[in-house]
């Protein structure tokens, strides 16, 4: 009897040690991850803190993380002298419309390519695949002249021209459609007499919710952070997107770091907030595609 008891005691001690070890390892990992996370967002923290610094403090050495005399002057100057809000509006409009376009085209194309087996479609899919590998920067110059001939430079339409479709979006939806929408479901609906459009609208789309959510986030941020294309398409100050406006931020011949940081920080806030709100969507969406192909 005592043997059994001591066995149990030994086991319990063993268990306690293992649990302790596990917790220690967990703590260690937590510390590492915590430090790493802080390191990752540190540059952004610096940016925000610089935005509140006075010009003199910007030149201080060693640089401070928390401004000694925080000031709102930089923000005031930026808002007064540059069309920052206009740029943000431009970016929002561009990113929003791009997201809508990409979601629409990806959803329908992905569905058709995934669920309808026709030779023509195989050819079309091959074409999409082939062009998907070509980086945007490769063909953006001729595309620019196309925009020019359409007369849509310096406008949201011009910006959109490069961001109406997303090959990855089509693939994503197609994968999703293949993996998570059983043919039987669609056939059953057809037998019941449902029209194709109705099937797409009421059956397929709801099932694609997760993937569309993820795609929407991807598309939005892709347009929001686009740089090379808006850079060449917009040449008037009012039509800049936020990225281009900040990059070309110039007051005469010198660049005021404090003001630049203020402008950058002002833009950062919507980006970060948006992302924090949409993160779940994104992760879920990627997971639901079965990214194993």
């Amino acid at each position: 009897m005592s043997e059994a008891v001591s066995d149990i005691a030994v086991e319990q001690a063993e268990g306690a040690r293992l649990r302790f070890k596990k917790r220690a390892v967990d703590r260690l990992i937590d510390v590492v991850l915590f430090l790493f996370s802080i390191l990752m967002i540190l540059p952004l923290i610096f940016l925000v803190s610089n935005a509140f610094k006075t010009p003199q403090e910007m030149l201080a050495w060693p640089p401070t993380v928390i401004p000694a005399n925080p000031t709102l002057d930089n923000f005031a100057a930026v808002l007064g002298q540059t069309p920052l809000l206009q740029w943000i509006a431009n970016s929002l409009m561009f990113a929003g419309l791009s997201t809508v376009a990409i979601l629409a085209t990806s959803a329908i194309a992905g569905y058709i390519l995934g669920k309808f087996q026709y030779k023509t479609l195989t050819v079309i899919f091959a074409l999409f695949l082939a062009t998907a590998i070509v980086p945007f920067e490769v063909y953006m110059i001729p595309l620019y002249f196309q925009a020019q001939s359409l007369g849509i430079l310096n406008s949201t339409w011009g910006l959109l021209l490069g961001y109406l479709v997303m090959s990855f979006g089509i693939f994503l939806i197609r994968q999703n459609v293949i993996h998570s929408i059983p043919d039987e479901l669609l056939e059953a609906a057809r037998i019941d007499g449902a029209g194709e459009l109705w099937i797409f609208w009421r059956i397929v789309l709801p099932l694609l919710r997760g993937a569309l959510g993820a795609l929407g986030v991807l598309a939005f941020f892709q347009a929001w952070t686009a740089f090379a294309w808006p850079m060449i398409v917009t040449t008037t100050r009012e039509s800049y997107t936020i990225e281009v406006g900040l990059a070309l931020f110039q007051t005469g011949f010198t660049v005021d770091l404090g003001r630049l940081s203020a402008a950058s920080a002002a833009v950062l806030v919507p980006s970060v907030t948006l992302f924090i709100l949409l993160r779940r969507n994104f992760v879920q969406g990627i997971a639901s595609t079965g990214l194993k192909e």
Binding site: V25, D26, I29, V32, L33, M40, P43, L44, F46, L47, N50, A60, W61, P62, P63, T105, A109, I112, L121, I124, L127, F128, T131, V134, P135, F136, E137, V138, Y139, M140, I141, P142, G162, V165, I170, L197, F221, F227, A228, I232, I242, E243, L246, A247, F253, T254, V255, L257, L260, A263, S264, L268, S271, L274, F275, R279, F282, A287, K292, E293
Partner: protein
């Protein structure tokens, strides 16, 4: 009858997307290939055909070679840093996935990927600043001399690599986390019973099983590395008053040739070379990572 209706629906439905694709993708790509064989200075109406002359000139162009070298170094540099680091961080985060901090880790790792490029680059520009930046201040604590990060030919490239990796990491980590979540738990339990430690099962189990994800992430990272532009533009730019040593990358060289030297045909030939490189690299990666027995 029904079949016919279905076919009509499919064709009509895909038509708009196809039309858009043709106009904004296929046509310009074909046009790039076409332009690379011509000479055009934007302003004139003449676009004479000059065969492969652009490509010949490109091969001997010192600036193009510099751009190619820089871009290759940056792309591979980012790849080498991002993949291993992303895998490890993802593994760690996955290990702690039930802790309440998991969301915080994921978010802070991913935020660099979604914030606007330019503000982020500005932040790093300040960090790397030789006189005012905290990096030199930090290194000073260890007695290391302040470096002119953005002016040194080698260090400025390193700076671009660091910035790009910082941004690329988040996306890779997220994808890897999803990958980890889909790995079969039973295998790990079996391994543990056999006495394998955490790192061991990571090395011998996780890495091989994550091959498809590694393939995807590495293709995406490498391709976007070759297309680097914004980061080089902001960090190591031309701008008066905020100078740094200009890190010449392919896209920058291309745009300069097209819009500053007014040589669109020449720039198009550069674009074609860029495309060829990307294609070759993608193919190579597919072969390499597929061959070694990827399991889904």
């Amino acid at each position: 009858m029904l079949k016919r209706k279905r076919w009509i629906f499919a064709m009509l439905a895909i038509l708009p997307t196809l039309a858009i694709f043709a106009y904004v993708r296929m046509y310009p790509i074909a046009d790039t290939l076409r332009l690379s064989l011509h000479k055009w200075d934007i302003l004139s109406k003449k676009k004479p055909f000059i065969g492969l002359a652009n490509f010949q000139e490109l091969m001997g162009d010192r600036l193009f070679q510099e751009a190619l070298l820089n871009t290759t170094i940056i792309a591979f540099g980012v790849l080498i840093i991002t993949i291993p680091l992303a895998m490890v961080i993802a593994a760690l985060i996955f290990h702690r996935t039930r802790s309440r901090f998991a969301g915080f880790y994921e978010t802070s790792v991913f935020i660099p990927h979604v914030v606007s490029l330019v503000p982020a680059a500005m932040a790093w520009k300040w960090i790397f600043d030789a006189r005012l930046g905290p990096l030199n201040a930090f290194l000073g604590l260890f007695g290391i001399q302040p470096q002119a990060w953005l002016f040194d030919p080698v260090l400025s490239v390193v700076c671009v690599i660091v910035l790009c990796s910082w941004q690329a990491l988040g996306y890779a980590v997220l994808i890897y986390i999803v990958g980890f979540k889909s790995l079969p738990v039973s295998l790990y339990e079996a391994a543990k019973l056999d006495g394998a430690s955490g790192p061991q099962s990571f090395w011998y189990l996780s890495i091989p099983m994550l091959k498809p994800i590694t393939l995807y992430v590495s293709v995406v990272t490498l391709v976007s590395g070759f297309n680097v532009y914004a980061q080089a533009f902001v960090l190591a730019s031309d701008a008066q008053g905020a100078p740094g040593r200009q890190v010449r990358v392919l896209v920058l060289d291309m745009l300069e040739n097209s819009f500053r030297n007014y040589r669109v045909g020449y720039a198009a030939s550069e674009a074609v070379v860029l495309l060829a490189i990307v294609l070759v690299l993608t193919l190579v990666q597919f072969t390499l990572l597929r061959e070694r027995g990827a399991r889904s």
